[in-house]
């Protein structure tokens, strides 16, 4: 048998894994919208971290002489009803926005996935109860549910996080449960069990990693939606207490001054839209890049 033509053999082993990641990156960033989204997210995160350096003024500095001023050289976006600089408040607001997403997704993800794991793996009674409970949670409009919980628990940042966490939990539970149910039937699980792998080992080594691709997509999207949810709550005055600057509360207080300085309400909204949009675009990019069927583009 003559020498095989090595150029035509498929890539093997180590090389293959590196190029897999490279290919993933290439697909992800082949679309300009994903690049745009990533830039926005990074900007917001940097803005949050370096807020003290970037903001021209102290966001909480009240100046009664300078109330409700339209944009000027001194205050690029004007001032709000307490004379505080709007631009600084927007920059500081990104802190809340960025952290809310992370905290809420972490809480929702951990609890939700844990419950989903149990429901999916053990099925039976406990599985049904958990899933129906999630159904019940999902039957309530997320806003109403989170509103109710936040109100009952009382105000404060932490309580808001918990309320939001509970509201976002069902998706993760469902995802985990669904993945486990479908993967459970696969032969390699059977194989692992046959060689004597314990329940826990099977769950963690085989089932959990399989859920990662859709999980990453959902997390990215939820990072954005958590921002929307928190903004809705703080718009209503529930949750984060003044004078902390959050974009939602700023929209609320700006309502009365639409005729004098509409930017008070409009700009925070734009900030929200941009950041949430960014998460959506990146999430979509992730989804396309992780979709095995799109890999060969055939």
């Amino acid at each position: 048998m003559s020498e095989a033509n090595f150029e035509t053999l498929p890539e093997q082993g180590h090389n293959k894994r590196i190029s897999e990641f490279q290919r993933f990156l290439r697909v992800m960033f082949s679309r300009w919208v994903v690049i745009f989204g990533t830039i926005v997210i990074i900007s917001d995160v940097l803005g949050a971290i370096f807020a003290p350096q970037l903001a021209p003024y102290d966001p909480n500095k009240i100046s009664l002489r300078e109330m409700i001023q339209p944009p000027s050289a001194k205050h690029i976006l004007g001032t709000d009803e307490m004379g505080r600089d709007v631009l600084s408040r927007i920059i500081y607001g990104s802190r809340i926005a960025v952290t809310v997403g992370l905290v809420v997704v972490t809480i929702a993800g951990i609890i939700g996935m844990f419950l989903g794991l149990i429901a999916g793996y053990f099925e039976g009674w406990i599985g049904t109860i958990i899933m129906r409970f999630m159904d019940a949670l999902m039957s309530l409009p997320p806003l109403v549910l989170m509103l109710a919980i936040a109100v009952m628990l009382g105000g404060g940042l932490l309580k808001v996080y918990v309320a939001l966490g509970i509201g976002f939990m069902p998706t993760y539970c469902r995802l985990m449960c669904g993945e486990i149910l479908s993967v459970k039937e696969n032969d390699y699980i059977m194989a692992a069990k046959v060689i004597g792998a314990s329940h826990v080992r099977v769950m963690f080594r085989h089932l959990v990693p399989n859920t990662f691709p859709p999980l990453f997509v959902i997390i990215t999207l939820d990072l954005g939606f958590a921002i929307l949810a928190e903004a809705s709550l703080s718009f209503l005055g529930i949750g984060i207490n003044p004078p902390t600057a959050t974009w939602g509360a700023m929209i609320n207080s700006g309502q009365q001054y639409l005729l004098t300085n509409p930017l008070l309400s409009i700009v925070p909204g734009v900030a929200i839209v941009l950041l949430v949009l960014a998460f959506n675009l990146v999430g979509d990019g992730l989804r396309d890049a992780l979709d095995p069927r799109l890999r060969g583009r055939i």
């Binding site: 048998m1 020498e3 035509t8």
Partner: protein, 334 residues
């Protein structure tokens, strides 16, 4: 006499993330009225793609029919736009297709009857009642019991074999001049395979359609086909009357294929010899013979070009530089 279908130098490529795949690289064959030919090759050799290109069913990005002619009843189909009236007339009306996956080839939300009638009403312009009657007849012809009841059933209510029979009925419903069956029995279990194949051959006999059977199963074509085309890496490497190809294969690939398949009439205990190596990557094709890496005669072959088809018998052509004894035939370089 002019051929019913003449494919000349068909080239189809696919644009992928890893590069340009030459799925079909210069395929030519003919088929006459009422003739049955087999197109044989392993997965990925381009046989399905070449057939889909005939009716322009290839997804245009990422696919592309680069060049070639598909002359059906004197007209080059490739000159027509895929959505043109001409092509739509031909599809279903003149050329019927049977696909591999009976489980997913029917639309789950419409009854089998509706889907067969759709064809009849489109091409034969039948009225609803006439189409229904004809559809029931067709189902009976393919051996589906209780046809008048089952015509109102949905695809998921049919078994795999039944669905494939219905697919055959649908493909033949408008009495097309040519039927292309792309791996018609591959997805079925062995017993059903035989039954469905019989049904298909019977129908084709009754309706005098020309038939192209695309398959990787030599057994199917051995029995029914009059001519065999063997494909490898996007090209036809051997073509000839089926007896000649089976009894006197000329191409090393065909020889190897036959050696790797058990036969009822040989001694038990003969070792089945698989073909070593892997199918070639169709992206960066070398200008040399595509089978060379796996060819048992490669050591004696010094020709660096890609071989052309040369005659080895009556109507029997092989694309190999060497003859069956390993002697160089001095083929013309490409």
């Amino acid at each position: 006499m002019a051929h019913l279908l003449e494919v000349k130098n068909l080239q189809v490529t696919f644009d992928t993330m890893s590069g340009l795949v030459k799925a079909v690289d210069g395929v030519s064959f003919t088929i006459d009225k009422g003739e049955i030919i087999g197109l044989v090759g392993e997965s990925g050799c381009g046989k399905s793609v070449s057939q889909m290109a005939i009716t322009q069913l290839i997804a245009i990005p990422p696919g592309k029919i680069v060049s070639g002619e598909v002359i059906f009843e004197g007209q080059d189909l490739l000159k027509y736009h895929p959505d043109s009236n001409m092509m739509r007339d031909v599809r279903g009306g003149q050329i019927g297709m049977i696909f591999q996956e009976p489980m997913t080839s029917f639309n789950p939300v419409f009854t089998i009857g509706e889907q067969i009638m759709e064809s009849l009403r489109l091409h034969l312009k039948l009225s609803r009642p006439a189409a229904k009657k004809r559809a029931i007849e067709l189902l009976e012809e393919v051996g589906i019991p209780d046809a008048s009841v089952r015509i109102n059933h949905y695809p998921h209510q049919f078994s795999g074999g039944m669905r494939q029979r219905a697919m055959i009925a649908m493909a033949l419903s408008c009495s097309p001049k040519l039927v292309i069956a792309d791996e018609p029995t591959t997805a079925l279990d062995v017993t059903t395979q035989a039954q469905v194949l019989d049904v298909m051959m019977k129908m084709v006999e009754n309706y005098h359609n020309a038939l192209i059977i695309v398959t990787h199963n030599l057994g199917i074509v051995a029995r029914h086909a009059q001519r065999i085309n063997v494909m490898y890496a996007g090209r036809i490497v051997e073509t000839g009357p089926s007896e000649a190809v089976f009894l006197n294969p000329g191409h090393p690939y065909t020889i190897a294929l036959l050696k790797s398949v058990p036969r009822l009439d040989e001694n038990r205990g003969r070792q089945l010899i698989p073909i070593s190596g892997v199918p070639p990557n169709l992206i960066n094709m070398m200008p040399t013979c595509s089978f060379k890496p796996r060819c048992p005669m490669a050591n004696g072959c010094h020709n660096q070009s890609s071989p052309e088809l040369r005659p080895v018998g009556k109507n029997h052509f092989v694309s190999c530089h060497l003859d069956v004894n390993g002697e160089d035939c001095g083929t013309i370089s490409q």
